[in-house]
Symmetry: C2
Subunit: 351 residues, 2 copies
């Protein structure tokens, strides 16, 4: 290690430990001479403060914990990256834990973060079931920002904070509404939404928006078909084949909205296997603007939202809290979703 401590600097500069600390930190109540000597000595010796000792004394670790299901998912990774950059600017270190949506690992990670005295946390729980663990953290005084998740209100009437937790959320409902309206506008009446299990907020909101539009348009609600993927085993390839193959419930869907790279890939492969041309025989839309969607032939119309904005907003919200601002105002952010029109959607073939 560095080996040289504040004590060495003090001796070299011929002042006391307290003066060195003051000179290097606040600079308040410190004479110009001492400031100069200390800076010179520190520089000459290559002094580097020990964060551990400092943290122990000040009770702030300068670390922010980030709990995310899977860091190797590019969507998550992009969010984390943006948040890390913002936090780094503010002098914080981001530590991430991949939890694979396993409640046990989530709890363990949260507990470890707590033991390491993180100053705050960015969390995206795998499901709402773990909300109590987060509540315990918050009760312990650790600021927590929820990222694109819902946390149900406490079931014990004791501490029901009416306004909920600080959070950054994406307007998946609005995006789904726009997408559905667009397809209906093209003439589609049977649309399938392939998304993840409804245990998390994004899928729940998407489904809600999807159905809302059908209801508002006064269309046959059975035309809004859901296909939920609990685990992307074959990336929805089999499900899509089944969906497109037979004509149950009044015929196969003429349009599919698919979540993410892998499900989208499964859908495209299934369409190819069945000899269905996109967009002539089948319109396809991607939820999330991935490389695959942008580059595929034909290019896939997609719902896009800025992952960087999500990460930045989450970091800002947390920094706000860490800055002592416990004000309830601006404790929630809702980010927009855009519809990027490309070549993969067209009016359905006449029935």
């Amino acid at each position: 290690m560095s080996g040289i401590t504040i004590r060495d600097v003090a001796e070299a500069a011929g002042v006391s430990l307290a003066s060195v600390s003051r000179a290097l930190n606040g600079g308040k109540n410190v004479s110009a001479r001492v400031a100069r000597d200390v800076a010179a000595a520190a520089d000459r010796l290559g002094y580097q403060p020990d964060f551990l000792a400092r943290s122990l004394r000040t009770r702030t670790s300068g670390m922010v914990g980030c709990l995310v299901s899977d860091i190797s998912n590019p969507l998550n990774a992009t969010i984390v990256k943006a948040a890390e950059a913002r936090l780094r600017e503010a002098g914080y270190l981001l530590v991430v834990a991949s939890t694979a949506n396993d409640p046990g690992r989530e709890r363990a990670a949260a507990s470890e973060f707590r033991g390491r005295r993180v100053d705050g946390m960015l969390v995206a729980p795998g499901s709402d079931a773990n909300a109590k663990a987060w509540r315990a953290l918050v009760a312990a005084g650790t600021p927590v920002v929820i990222v694109d998740r819902d946390v149900p209100e406490a079931d014990d009437g004791a501490d029901n904070d009416t306004d909920g937790w600080p959070s950054v959320q994406v307007d998946h409902r609005g995006g789904a509404r726009a997408a559905t309206r667009y397809l209906i506008g093209l003439g589609h009446r049977r649309i399938a939404l392939l998304t993840a299990d409804a245990v998390m907020r994004p899928s729940r909101e998407r489904i809600a928006g999807f159905r809302e539009v059908f209801a508002e348009a006064g269309l046959d609600p059975t035309g809004a078909q859901l296909c939920l993927q609990s685990s992307a085993m074959d990336f929805a390839h089999g499900d899509t084949l089944a969906l497109l193959g037979d004509g149950k419930d009044g015929g196969r869907p003429t349009a599919i909205i698919a979540l993410g790279t892998r499900i989208l890939a499964g859908v495209l492969r299934a369409a190819r296997d069945l000899g269905l041309a996109v967009p002539r025989d089948l319109s396809v839309m991607s939820v999330g603007d991935t490389d695959l969607a942008a580059v595929h032939t034909p290019a896939i119309t997609a719902l896009r939202w800025s992952l960087e904005d999500v990460g930045r907003a989450a970091a800002d919200l947390l920094l706000h809290r860490l800055g002592g601002d416990a004000g309830q105002a601006q404790s929630r952010a809702l980010l927009p979703v855009d519809l990027v029109l490309r070549d993969s959607c067209a009016p359905p073939a006449v029935v």
Copy 2:
């Protein structure tokens, strides 16, 4: 915070601080009665040790720093995730810093890691220029494992360690050789390699393997065309158009080896723009087995290596070091690259 310290536990259990520490940690030289009482008291009070204080005393932070160019790159993210899982098992916390290959940020991050007293580091420098910074760290006693990078020998003759640094590397050269041999075996004589700037090991090794095979086969070396991408602005789309458009140097290449999702995407789009069918008019191979390669029509033959293995091996190597094993043996790992045959390569059309 937790609020309750080892002192509270000591009082509750009616023993001294030292006994509590012994009981909770080693358990050596502790009577059954004390062990029981301490465990009970700690449990009842919900005691959670303070990592900061512990670290300060023991001089080990239990943290491992990871320096990577861009965590939002799925390849890097996968490596990091695997390493994190392995390190977590061993009780270490992984902290990552994205450096965007900016030497300044790399240095800053390394310095910060050092200040936070990380026990070790996993680094993939953006270029070899920063090697000196890493050397300084190693000289300071921090174990460092290099991930898929080369670090040149010190230019000052003083401390030239003959065996280099512990590192995990991927056999990109072998992979490139296999790929090139395969294409040559199909009859190709003009092959283009589109890869990244040669500032880092993977590209350098690939280029070397690529050329070696041409030389060994006694083929016209001008058939081995290089196209280096310093920044993937248009994802090599323009370069590919130029490459395939005219017939300089004895004709356009009949096969292209493209690095990663984005360059591959650019190549495929360019081929489409020029009306070249894959693999009839142009054979295409991907370096790295991405979603796009697996899902494209036709499916793209790819060079694949296990990113999880890279992460795991790096973690293991570092853990080995941290375990006190400074033995030079097994300080370097070389991971294999496989050629995954799919449908995107065929013998070239007769000239």
